[in-house]
């Protein structure tokens, strides 16, 4: 038997259609799973930071406390400032700069080196003259004040 008859006789059309459908289904599901892996990992790595944010939200009900969430800085620097401040509070001041960078990397902050560099350039992190660094609360206050004036 040859030709289309042979194909029909051996259920060729069904086999081929089902086969390619299964291949597509499998790879679609795999691509969907892969696309979510890095988001899940991001969320897991930043769980401490999210926990701290929730904690602060709850604490804000009891006392009014300005957060560092709205400094007048570029968006990416704003985000890393927020995250780094939380990490610095955890490490304690004065802190070793390499430790902040390591800790930021472990907590999932992308480009931890350049993020810390941005904060150094914005003078939110300053040296203490003894090889360690401090968070600059004065500059942070000024940034928040100028933001309030602008709004």
């Amino acid at each position: 038997m040859y030709g289309l008859d042979a194909i029909s006789a051996h259920n060729g059309w069904q086999l081929a259609a089902l086969g390619i459908s299964i291949v597509f289904t499998c790879l679609i599901l795999l691509s969907l799973a892969i696309s979510q892996i890095h988001k899940a990992l991001d969320f897991w790595d930043r769980r401490y930071i999210y926990y701290q944010r929730i904690k602060k939200l709850v604490q804000r009900k009891h006392r009014s406390e300005a957060t560092v969430s709205d400094p007048v800085l570029p968006k990416n620097v704003k985000e890393s400032a927020c995250q780094c401040k939380l990490l610095i509070e955890r490490i304690g001041e004065p802190f070793p700069l390499p430790r902040l960078i390591d800790f930021s990397k472990k907590c999932g902050l992308l480009n931890s080196h350049s993020s810390v560099n941005d904060l150094l350039q914005a003078k939110l992190i300053i040296p203490d003259g003894k090889g360690y660094f401090l968070w600059n609360h004065e500059v942070e206050k000024n940034i928040k004040v100028s933001m309030k004036m602008n709004s």
């Binding site: 700069l97 080196h113 090889g131 660094f133």
Partner: protein, 141 residues
């Protein structure tokens, strides 16, 4: 590939040098691109190469996490190539992408030793920088 002499001319370390001296130095140098997070020196490793910042930002850290940062064109990393202990006392890591000039320390030493006038001009500046950084290395800040 030798570096353009105009780049070196603008650097603080070499500002007192003559054109001929600059040419000799330029011949020994090469430009290197560094990426964020890349370490160009490691504490304890033999100091073979000296680096001069052209662009970018660096952190140099020592024992117990003490560190300082370098952001300006002309800042130098790896001075231990020309002064004792001749091994890197700190680890230098790029905080952002940038470009550095690199020069084999032995070649710079040879140049300095063979040219007392140049030696005087360069070593004065190197000693000033070393003195400023020594507290970070020793921990006696």
């Amino acid at each position: 590939m030798p570096v353009d002499i105009n780049i070196i001319d603008s650097l603080n370390l070499f500002e007192d040098l003559s054109h001929a001296e600059l040419e000799e130095i330029a011949f020994l140098m090469s430009r290197i691109r560094v990426t964020e997070g890349e370490a160009i020196t490691r504490r304890g490793a033999p100091a073979h190469t000296i680096f001069i910042l052209l662009s970018g930002n660096f952190m140099v850290f020592f024992k117990e996490g003490r560190s300082y940062t370098l952001h300006n064109k002309g800042d130098i990393i790896g001075l231990s190539t020309v002064v004792i202990p001749f091994y890197y006392t700190g680890t230098a890591v790029a905080l952002s992408d940038g470009v550095v000039l690199s020069m084999p320390g032995q070649e710079l030493l040879r140049l300095i030793e063979s040219n007392p006038v140049m030696s005087d001009k360069i070593m004065k500046k190197i000693n000033q920088i070393v003195s400023a950084r020594l507290p970070f290395v020793t921990g006696r800040c």
